[in-house]
Symmetry: C2
Subunit: 145 residues, 2 copies
């Protein structure tokens, strides 16, 4: 048997998962030359847009547990892309190093190209419909990223 009948061909959850996996794989490939994984590029951009935020803030926004933020931040620190400064005895304000700011701009360029590639097949109306539908589906829940 070569060609299987697909009973889920029109199921939303199924199609979402496939589309998401394809885009994620493409983004992963696009970021390899920068030495970043998608989650790392995302964190760099979140820091750029929220200078002084903490890693707990980022974890809450991305649905990443505090414990799992530790090796992520350690990796970005080891690459010299982020710096921490104590706010109080618990929290550390995050910022990008000069190298991190450059890397973040390169990452955004790659992400924009990646997004445009997939948006090209869709009309503007469809993209807006899609965005609205996806936001509705995600609802108010904190997702796992």
């Amino acid at each position: 048997m070569t060609e299987l009948n697909d009973p889920f061909a029109r199921h939303l959850g199924y199609l979402l998962r496939r589309a998401s996996a394809v885009m994620m794989a493409d983004l992963g490939t696009a970021l390899i030359p920068l030495g970043l994984r998608p989650v790392e590029a995302t964190i760099l951009s979140l820091i750029a847009a929220n200078q002084g935020c903490t890693q707990s803030d980022i974890g809450r926004m991305l649905g990443i547990k505090r414990a799992n933020m530790v090796p992520l931040m350690a990796s970005l620190s080891a690459k010299g892309l982020i710096e921490k400064s104590r706010v109080d005895g618990r929290s550390q304000a995050l910022g990008l190093t000069d190298q991190g700011a450059l890397k973040q701009r390169d990452a955004i360029k790659a992400i924009d190209v990646h997004e445009a590639k997939f948006g090209a097949a869709l009309s503007k109306v469809d993209i807006i419909t899609l965005q609205k539908a996806l936001i509705d589906i995600a609802g108010a829940q904190t997702p796992t990223v």
Copy 2:
């Protein structure tokens, strides 16, 4: 800092990932009473729709490597839901046991309720637009499920 600025709020890949994660989590919860994970429910339905297919066929369709199909099929076998019969010295034709057929029908009911829950907020036109867009995005590629 409590409310973070989100520079990816309108990015397709980001929204897809969030929406997919929310639906997957909901499906996982919905299937707990049946003792099935989403991938197991999917496999049962693929077998029902393609009696006599092999586990390699299913793996190709779902983007699951042959090696990773083994424990999945073993789990479904251990639950008494599927049966194998040798086709030739290599391949095994898959079928559902009576218990597996019952479980598959229950799973489809749960999946339909789950799908309807998320589709309820969308118009029929939007759903069709969404389906078409997601299929376009996934393209011809074999996704990772």
